[in-house]
Amino acid sequence: MMMMHRWRRSGDFIRSACKSLSSFRQKHNSMSPSVTGFMNRYESKVNTFEPNAWSHQYRSFGSSSSSSALKVKRNPLFSSLESKDVSFFKEILGERNVVEDEERLEIANTDWMKKYKGCSKLMLLPKNTEEVSQILKYCDSRSLAVVPQGGNTGLVGGSVPVFDEVIINVGLMNKVLSFDEVSGVLVCEAGCILENLATFLDTKGFVMPLDLGAKGSCHIGGNVSTNAGGLRLIRYGSLHGTVLGLEAVKANGNVLDMLGTLRKDNTGYDLKHLFIGSEGSLGIVTKVSILTQPKLSSVNLAFIACKDFLSCQVLNHLDGVRNPVSSSENFYILIETTGSGETYDREKLEAFLLKSLEQGLVSDGVIAQDINQASSFWRIREGITEALQKAGACYKYDLSLPVEEIYNIVNDLRGRLGNLANVMGYGHLGDGNLHLNISAAEYNDKLLGLIEPYVYEWTSKHRGSISAEHGLGVMKANEILYSKSPETVS
């Protein structure tokens, strides 16, 4: 049996990882042996905790750089793909939806950042829940490992195979099943692209409760599976609040119908919550029912600059954007307000900003005067991820921190890394979510050694979370104990 390794761009450094949380490869039940393995690996470390430090929720695992030292081997319990498997899949899905084409597989095997790469030989495109169920049942009986994939925009290496798992992509399951114009409840298949749902809702006068830079590609099923936060969290809350129901298929092929559309339902355990943010480790999400919001007629957007914040230099990598403010400041904030009375809403935002200007909290800023201007401000915010990708290698950390700490880690790292790399922080100020990005010419071990586990320890020390909204994926599956106690993990 071939053993594959996950590679990073640096080439010389092979990091293989356990994809315990992002693909389920278990034979008998959905708490897979890989999850157990995942915990076993931590045992020794857990024992080294100082009790005091622990009570402060501060976890330090020493400098062995847990993230890179761990080599994950392909679990020999899993079988390898054979031609009879492919024939079976063709029988249930039809030739066209069983993908063996090398070019298409190359794309499906590679993550958005081009940082993680698997070597799956097969991608399956089911058209309905029944097909998903049949696929999983078969894979279960044959001990074939699988990885669910949505729009493949995840930033933690969770959506691509670690080894040769069969990729199951629900992209063909892209129908809106129902929409209730009174309650705003949308029921759709998991493969619906977020932006298409937004466009659909727009014609009905509604908006999705979440929005993110990857909207043109990411699936609602992927959003649910990563518990994506995004740009409207402050306004509409997290998916744990807005997702009303799910349908999911477990690893053994059993379909779990949790597709309620009720706002309130206290009949026992609310299992859907386990699936929200489970990154495909419990099953494949096939349908989603979600509460959408009436579209408010007035949207006001301000792009403001403050004296002490991050640099916008990465924006040089985006075509057709310009700095909305003439001065170059350290920090920029984008504020969007929505309401139903345009003049009133605008006056309120203006009054707030002008007061901040008078008090010296804000040094400059612009307010969008039309939708075009608003889009160009959003383009800057949403383009940061893309710009960083174009800028070269990028180490990304998605941290939740107390808001007052959010920037200290950026300064800390700048000091620590000196001119080895460009350290940038952006994110969602309102919900204490920092996207810490370390941009360098290329990936290299020395740099990584300086960053990890330092960043995780720093976060743990400040009682933060090492994954605010992107999930653990392959990147951070092994680091979960920085943010969760061993009792909760086991």
Partner: protein
């Protein structure tokens, strides 16, 4: 020298237009309205001329219902010195607007009148030309570059014409209408939004301006363009040939 800029309040460029069910026009209820993008360019150019020390004052004028004040506020926040709001609740066709603007120009005596080459709602592309004719001034339309001589006696204007550029020299006072590539309008900054709050907007009525409104054009009907049928995916070449032959009748 004073520059007069006409700014029109239109349905925002990014909004999907919906025709009213009774086909009398476009639905503007609860729709985001903004300054016509070509007017924004006209205002930007006026501000640049002023900043180059070639004009003393930029006056923005908007004709329409009371919400036009919002559009004027945007203009003031971009940098115009004051606004004139000609109040009227009916919607006018270009000739009436041109007459109103002429009257405003008679009162204000600007050295230049800037307009957008067209408004994105009705796409008439007539107002600037008519204003020039009514005033008896030279006109330079579709400007993609404007240079004033330092004595402010004439303006050299590049116009985008089929297959190239035409360069005109017009004596001032003149009317200039702006094309898309003339400049990139600035954003309204907080300090300027603050300053704009204390800039005056003068209200005028059609009576003040002694413009008699009579409509000689009647809009019969407004309809949406025919919907494009969505495509179909054919499963084989044979099916394609069959469809081309028997459905489309093209082969």
């Amino acid at each position: 020298m004073k520059i007069l800029v006409a700014v029109k309040r239109v349905v925002d460029y990014a909004v999907k237009i919906r025709v009213k069910p009774d086909k009398t026009g476009v639905d503007t209820q609860n729709v985001k309205m903004s300054m016509n993008p070509f007017c924004e360019i006209a205002l930007e150019e006026s501000l640049r001329i002023k900043e180059a020390g070639l004009a003393k004052e930029v006056v923005a004028v908007s004709i329409g219902p009371s919400q036009c004040v919002d559009t004027l506020r945007t203009g003031l926040a971009m940098g115009a010195d004051r606004g004139i709001h000609v109040q009227s609740d009916s919607s006018f066709l270009p000739l009436t607007i041109a007459k109103i603007l002429k009257s405003v120009a008679d009162v204000e005596n600007p050295g230049l009148v800037f307009l957008g080459k067209q408004a994105i709602d009705d796409d008439c592309n007539q107002t600037g030309q008519m204003v020039a004719a009514l005033l008896g001034w030279p006109q330079a339309t579709f400007a993609s570059k404007v240079v004033l001589d330092k004595d402010k006696k004439f303006a050299t204007v590049d116009r985008e014409v089929d297959g190239g550029l035409e360069t005109l020299c017009v004596d001032l006072p003149a009317v200039i209408t702006t094309d898309l590539r003339l400049n990139q309008p600035r954003y309204a900054t907080l300090p300027n939004i603050m300053k704009a709050k204390s800039k005056p907007i003068k209200k005028m009525t059609l009576e003040d301006l002694k413009v008699e409104v009579k409509s000689d054009i009647e809009i019969v009907e407004v309809t949406e363009p025919p919907k494009r049928k969505s495509g179909v995916i054919v499963s084989s070449v044979d099916e394609l040939i069959d469809k081309l032959k028997n459905e489309a009748h093209v082969i």
